[in-house]
Structures are given as C-alpha cells and as structure tokens.
C-alpha cells in the first residue's frame, strides 16, 4: 500500500549501519538492554525506541520514533528487530533475541553472555491493532477525496448520521477514513475510478463513494466487488434504476449472485436464504440502495414515489445454490460460464411463498407453480411483468427425479402459463381491470419469453418455493441485467 499510494509520505531514511528497534514495554527488549549499549559502543549501532525516549538510556545513539513513522514505513512487526541499513534502507533483518543469530548478524562475539540464549520478541507498537489504522491513514497518504465530516466529541455519532439523512432507517457503521481505506483494499480498482452515473441526480459515483456507503451498510471489504458490479448493472439503460426508484410500485433492485465468489465471501444459499442473519446477504443490497440514496439523491417521498414500498427495498441479495442443483445456474442460462462470478439484477418486490406438500409428479407441481405465478402483480394482467421463481431443494427434487432440465421446465411451465385471453380482458370475471379487448379469443402468455427467472436456493426441508414479482419490463421499464463481478 505504501508504494502504490500516490499520496504516500516517503519512507524516512534509517541511520546506516546496525539499527535495533525496541520498546520499553517489551520484556525481551528490557532483557537485552545491556546488549544494545554494547552494540552502540562496539559497532556504532543506533537504537530506535518506540515508547520511552530514555530507553534503554538517554544517549545520542538512541532515537525516539515518537510518531512511529520509521517503524510503520519500514514494516517493523516485532521488537526487538535488528536491521542492517545501507543508504537509509534496511537490507537484512532478524527479530527477537537469539544470541547465536545476533552474533552472526553483527559479526560480534560474546553478546549478552549472562542472558538466556533465546527469547521471542513482542509486537511492534506500529502494528498495535488499536492504532494501526490511524497510522495507515496518516502515513500511507490518503487519496480519498470525500469531504471530511467532523462529529464533535459530545455528539452521538450514530444520531449525527441519522440527522444528516444518510440512513435508510437502520443503524449505520460510521465511515471513518480507516474503515473506508480497509474497504478499498477489497478491490483492485483505484478509489477515483468512475463506477456509474447514479440516478436520480445522475451523479458521478467513484469507487471511493461506493466504499464509503459499503462501510455504512456493514459490508466487509471482500464484498466490495459485488457491490460495484451490482451498481454498474443497476445504472445501465436496460435496468433503468431511475424508473425503478420513481415508480409507485413496491420494487427495488434484487441481486442474485452466481459463481465462486458466493463461497469466498461466505454467502448463504441455504436455510433462510431470503431472510436475515448472513452478513453478505444482508449488506450487499443495502450498500447499493445507500449509494442510490446518498450519492444519487433517491429518497422516499422525493423521486422515490412508492405507494407501499416493500422490505425488499432495504436491499435484497442472495446467492443461488448451484452445487445442490441438477440444472445449469441462472447465470449460465444467461450466457455466462460457471467459473465466472456474476450478479443478476432484477426489479422485484418482496418474496412470497407457494406451498405444495403433496405433488410428487413434476407435472402436478409445475401446474401448481403456474397457478400461483398467474396471480403475479394481478391475475388479470400478463406479459408486462417478469418474475423470479426460487425453487427449494425439495421442490427441485421432483424435477431431478423426473429428469427435467431447465429447458424442459421452462417449456412445460410456459405452456401452462398460456392463459385464455377471454379471462384476462377488461370486464372478464366481473373485474374492470384487465388486458385490452383485443386480447379476447386467443391464448396470452403470462410472461414474455425469458420473463421467468428460475433459481435454486433455500433450506433442505420445506416443500415450498418462493416467488418474487417484478415491475414493468422491456423498453418501457426494466430488463434484468447480468454482469460479471471483477476484482
């Protein structure tokens, strides 16, 4: 990080010759105090002390690294560390106390003859976890451009973030510079890289701004590439995030994750897959929605005009259970390979259940699923809205046993979802809502081709599946978008 960071402070040179880095708060350093002055006198060694400036003694060969700048820049992890320095840079180093090693390293004999032969060292102050973040911020040269907001000591940080309107209603993790820096380590992309123009205000959003919001959402750094890919997908013309935000319908960007990254970041595709409890599932979608709120300016009551909204709008993200599925994954069905990690964004409302504990044949189960899907958005409307069907492992077992693959399922359920236009038109069933009269007399497919996205996920027990309905599709609304997650 020190070398690659353009704003990094240059590593200050060390004195040439032998250098020992120590601290008083280390029994091994105290133990070897007599050796340190021996080295200073016999070999002009310099001792760099991290804590007490008069340890091991007050002398011109003792240098106080008060700011820990030398220790941080020269990657001191253990004290004592014995270094050979040429032209200000360390060329060799050993750590801890070991008489034999020290004698070989220094070329001096009879070092600390009254001491034990060997003692391990202690942790360097510069890697103390309570201050290492601040040191990294201070010395790595922050390239972050976001405005610094100072929250006074007597202010409650959490309340202060609520007051500024940054929250979706749930608590936020304060985006300190150290946390954002750690978050940025989750991607190879530069903090000032442009990720997307975020609606509704069409604001240029950098990797850094995504990282700030990802910290607030509770993401770990290794989730950041998923958040970035999801945001890129959301801010495409096809996905039409502006419309999705502005609509009165209760929909938000639902994120389905495929590929190896699911396991790498510990996502849950099993029990309670669409619910609470897993950090990655819970925070990735939230981070995307916080970016749209904070960077894009999209807020409920502002451009967000949802009549009811839905819990899905906090950010619903889940992975497919690919390993347990006999089918190709959703991403594969959309043209990606199983080695690629992807996000598929879908404009959806909250999931609802379809119970079928009796069907043992794939035909019966499919017929039942089709009947449930028919009521998506409205049982009188068709073609305008896509849907996700989340098949549980126990429902998927019906298809596995019968040897149905994804294509067979799509074809069979497609036929069962060819609905009589007579039942859908305005006035049919005594209901004024419905399709225009021109659809009477002919079958009408509930979904447009490719409009039903089927994924496999959920706990091993439960003869249920879940349905997530979408809003207006196609050119007038949103097309689902799949995008590769890049590091």
């Amino acid at each position: 990080m020190t070398e690659s960071s353009p704003g990094a402070t240059a590593a200050p040179p060390l004195p040439d010759g032998l250098v020992v880095v120590v601290k008083r708060d280390c029994p091994t350093c105290v133990l070897v105090a007599s050796v340190l002055s021996d080295l200073a006198h016999r070999s002009n060694a310099t001792v760099i002390t991290q804590d007490d400036p008069s340890f091991p003694t007050s002398a011109d060969w003792v240098v106080h690294d008060a700011e820990l700048e030398l220790s941080w820049h020269h990657d001191i992890e253990t004290v004592p560390t014995l270094l050979k320095v040429t032209n200000g840079q360390p060329t060799e180093r050993i750590v801890g106390w070991n008489r034999g090693e020290w004698e070989t390293f220094t070329g001096l004999d009879n070092l600390g003859l009254d001491l034990p032969d060997w003692r391990p060292g202690c942790g360097s102050l510069s890697v103390d976890p309570t201050i290492s973040d601040q040191l990294a911020v201070k010395f790595s040269g922050s390239v972050m451009k976001s405005r610094r907001v100072e929250i006074a000591a007597l202010e409650d940080v959490s309340e202060s973030m609520y007051d500024r309107g940054w929250s979706d209603g749930m608590p936020l993790v304060p985006p300190t510079e150290a946390r954002v820096m750690r978050m940025l380590a989750g991607t190879t992309r530069s903090p000032d890289d442009l990720v997307a123009l975020v609606p509704p205000d069409l604001v240029e959003c950098t990797v850094e701004k995504v990282a700030v919001n990802a910290v607030m959402a509770g993401c770990r750094p290794d989730y950041l590439p998923v958040v970035i890919a999801a945001l890129e997908a959301a801010c495409t013309d096809e996905f039409n995030m502006h419309g999705l935000l502005a609509t009165t319908m209760p929909v938000g960007p639902i994120i389905i994750v495929n590929g190896p990254i699911r396991q790498r970041i510990g996502m849950n595709s099993g029990i309670n897959v669409l619910g609470q409890g897993n950090r990655a599932n819970s925070t990735i979608g939230r981070a995307v929605q916080l970016v749209i709120r904070n960077v894009g300016g999209g807020r409920p009551g502002g451009v967000d005009r949802a009549t009811h909204g839905s819990p899905a709008k906090y950010g619903l993200c889940f992975p497919e259970d690919e390993e347990g599925s006999p089918w190709d994954s959703l991403a594969e069905s959309r043209g990606f390979t199983n080695g690629e990690s992807t996000v598929t964004l879908f404009p959806g409302e909250s999931p609802r259940i379809i119970v079928d504990q009796i069907s043992r044949s794939p035909e019966s189960l499919t017929r039942h699923l089709a009947l449930a899907l028919r009521s998506n958005i409205s049982p009188k409307l068709a073609m305008m809205f896509d849907s996700i069907l989340v098949l549980s492992p126990e429902h998927m077992a019906r298809y596995r046993d019968a040897g149905w693959d994804r294509q067979r399922f799509d074809q069979e359920i497609g036929e069962m979802l060819n609905l009589p236009g007579d039942e859908l038109v305005r006035g049919a069933g005594g209901i004024e809502e419905g399709l225009p009269e021109m659809f009477a007399g002919n079958p009408v497919p509930k979904f447009r081709p490719g409009g039903l996205l089927v994924v496999h996920a959920g706990g091993g027990a439960g003869l249920f599946s879940s349905i997530i309905a979408g809003w207006v599709n196609g050119n007038t609304g949103t097309d689902p978008v799949t995008r590769e997650i890049k590091p």
Partner: protein
Amino acid sequence: MTTVLDPTGELSPQTRQRVPRPQSLNGLTVGLLDISKPRGDVFLNRVEEKLIGLGAKVNRYRKPTFAKPAPVDLRHEIASQCDAVIEALAD
C-alpha cells in the same frame, strides 16, 4: 471527535431564477407533455381546448415511456419552443 467521510454526491446545485409568471396566456405558446401513461391524452385534449379558449397556442409533446426520464433533446425542444409547459401524470 470522530471524523467520517461524506457518503453523499456532495452536489451544490446552482440556484436559478424562475422565469416570471406570465400575466396572461394570450398569445403564448404552451407545451403539453404527455408522459405516455394510459388516458393521459384524454386529460391533455381537454386542457388543450381550455388553453386555446384562453388565446394560447398549444404544442403537444410525448415522452417515449413514463418509466424513464424525458430525453434531453425533448426537454431542450420544449424549452426552446414554449413559454410555459404542463406535464400530465394520469392513469
């Protein structure tokens, strides 16, 4: 004291003065923007009749879809051709 990074877009929008409200619509060109929701035309047809009755000239415009913002060209067209605009949200 805790220092945090601003998560917002850090926009500082320019304040622009509004065009003065016209005293009368007589002789002015009024744009009617149909956002392409069903039956928006029914509403706008009636508004057009009323405006013509007040002596205004009416230009009709239409967004390609209600689900997306009006294209920049369309907005520019309206701004350069009209003295006032009425946008209809209807269902």
